[in-house]
């Protein structure tokens, strides 16, 4: 099994994937709690169309996608904040709209079906040598900013009006969450796929929220789940030559089921304990 890491492309996928899984799990807790579970979906479709434009124009995909997705992410969080357009319909509009634009543009140039395929379903081969440095630097930056502003991000997610009233710059931290999310999505989508990347945000957070009840433990557990699932998925995809993204998501589903079962049985034990007390 270890010999798989002698392949440079697997090694690259391993490094970048682990970091991206960490970022997405941490941010995922906040996004799920802010009712923005599907933001990953919307943003990855925007990233898809940005990368399509970049492919057609022969620009570097990451450099085009990151600023575009940051802008889209900010607009989405803003739109959700005022009540005229609800968050989920805003995401749906953006996500399908961007997908259509992307497919339209990419089909103008024939013979790039493999590109569509890679962007949609992800590929371990997607991380080129030149991308590795940028990906590692960016995801380390996301992690560092998250840890540094952890308390403020908690406060803004838990109760934004209170944070605002007491002088925490809530808009700044919302913007920060938007930027960090955008970067994470762009880095992750090429490996996991535009269609599947939002599961990396949702599953670890949902699993750990079944079992843990304090925010810090939820965050730590979801980071651990995410990294373990990614590694397991990567190994499976190597051994059985299945797509990496789908393998990772399947493992995440299994973990979610296990955590649901744990929560269920813990509830039963608590109930029985209460009964026998009487």
């Amino acid at each position: 099994m270890l010999e798989m890491f002698t392949y440079p492309f697997i090694l690259r996928a391993f490094v970048v994937g682990t970091l991206v899984s960490l970022c997405s799990a941490l941010l995922g807790v906040n996004l799920v709690l802010k009712r923005y579970s599907m933001i990953g979906d919307g943003l990855s479709h925007v990233a898809f169309s940005a990368m399509a434009v970049a492919t057609v124009m022969n620009w570097a995909p990451l450099w085009v996608a990151i600023p575009v997705v940051i802008a889209a992410s900010y607009v989405l969080l803003r739109l959700g904040a005022n009540d005229r357009l609800s968050g989920d319909s805003a995401i749906a509009l953006l996500s399908t709209g961007a997908l259509a634009v992307g497919i339209f543009i990419i089909s103008m140039k024939s013979g790039i079906n493999t590109d569509i395929n890679n962007y949609m379903f992800g590929s371990v081969l997607a991380i080129s040598r030149s991308d590795v440095t940028l990906s590692v630097v960016l995801s380390l930056a996301v992690l560092a900013l998250y840890v540094l502003f952890y308390n403020k991000i908690f406060a803004v997610t838990f109760d934004e009006p209170f944070a605002k009233a007491t002088g925490v710059r809530a808009d700044f931290y919302n913007m920060l969450i938007a930027v960090l999310t955008a970067v994470t999505i762009v880095l992750g989508m090429r490996m996991i796929g535009a269609l599947l990347i939002s599961s990396l945000i949702i599953f670890p957070a949902m699993s750990s929220m079944r079992v843990f009840k304090c925010f810090r433990n939820v965050v730590i557990c979801s980071a651990a789940i995410s990294v373990v699932c990614f590694l397991a998925g990567l190994i499976i995809s190597y051994e059985c030559s299945t797509p990496t993204g789908a393998s990772v998501v399947l493992i995440n589903i299994a973990v979610f089921a296990v955590f649901c079962a744990v929560a269920f049985f813990r509830g039963r034990i608590a109930l029985n304990g209460a009964d026998s007390d009487k």
Partner: protein, 238 residues
């Protein structure tokens, strides 16, 4: 006595509906203002505006330069907190301390002591490790009050802080608020339907009904026709 807040001819509303008009009043440092009025009179709207969550559609609200947003403690009437949010009581109370540690992103020892002291004060120390979402309504209210106390040193804005609390805890909480006002000279703005208790601790009353019905000291309020009517009405209902 220095003026802390000055409201000048403020108009407030939602979309194109006006809720309050021509609201003017002044508060000094160390005042205890009680905002009273019927349901829907616009009390919460005014508090939201003072807390900086809403802009007045006309008029100005001026704060003295001695006070900044980070000196404000706030307890909203209804919180936007999601029912399934995983957070321990300690985490919630600590989050009130955030506006003090401006340069350091993490909590300091002083923050921890401050949070512990306020949890003790409100009798929630033994709940510290519990999950916020699993507490009763009254316990949650006490947690949020502890958080508000952590946040402020100068100004406390409370929107119906005792709703859903039992009579013993209610009078304890009124006692705590009175103490921070008298002992530490903290300015308090409180919305309350319990006018008679409020009248006992507050030194100023603001009675709202689409506009200011009355603003002045408690003694004047008790003597005024507005006050007598409102208090009388309450007595009949009781």
């Amino acid at each position: 006595m220095k003026t802390l807040i000055r409201c000048k001819d403020v108009t407030l509303g939602y979309e194109n509906m006006t809720v309050l008009e021509h609201v003017s009043f002044e508060l000094n440092e160390g005042d205890y203002l009680c905002v009273v009025g019927e349901n829907g009179a616009g009390k919460s709207t005014l508090i939201k505006c003072l807390a900086g969550l809403k802009r007045p559609s006309e008029g100005q609200i001026e704060f003295s330069p001695t006070i900044s947003r980070s000196d404000v403690g706030y307890l909203p009437q209804q919180t936007a907190i999601q029912r399934d949010f995983p957070a321990s009581v300690r985490e919630v109370v600590m989050s009130g301390c955030l506006n003090h540690s401006r340069l350091i992103p993490f909590y300091t020892k002083a923050d921890r002591q401050r949070a512990a002291a306020h949890m003790e004060e409100l009798g929630i120390t033994d709940l510290a490790g519990r999950s916020y979402r699993e507490l009763s309504g009254g316990q949650q209210q006490r947690v949020l009050l502890a958080r508000a106390l952590c946040a402020s040193e100068k100004l406390l804005m409370l929107d119906e802080p005792v709703t859903g609390l039992d009579p013993i805890v209610t009078s304890e909480i009124y006692g705590i608020i009175r103490e921070v006002n008298r002992k530490y000279g903290m300015t308090v703005i409180m919305v309350s339907h319990d006018v008679r208790t409020a009248v006992r601790s507050a030194n100023k009353i603001l009675h709202l009904k689409h506009t200011v019905q009355f603003f002045g000291s408690t003694e004047e309020y008790l003597a005024s026709s507005t006050g007598r009517e409102f208090l009388g009405g309450q007595r009949e209902n009781a």
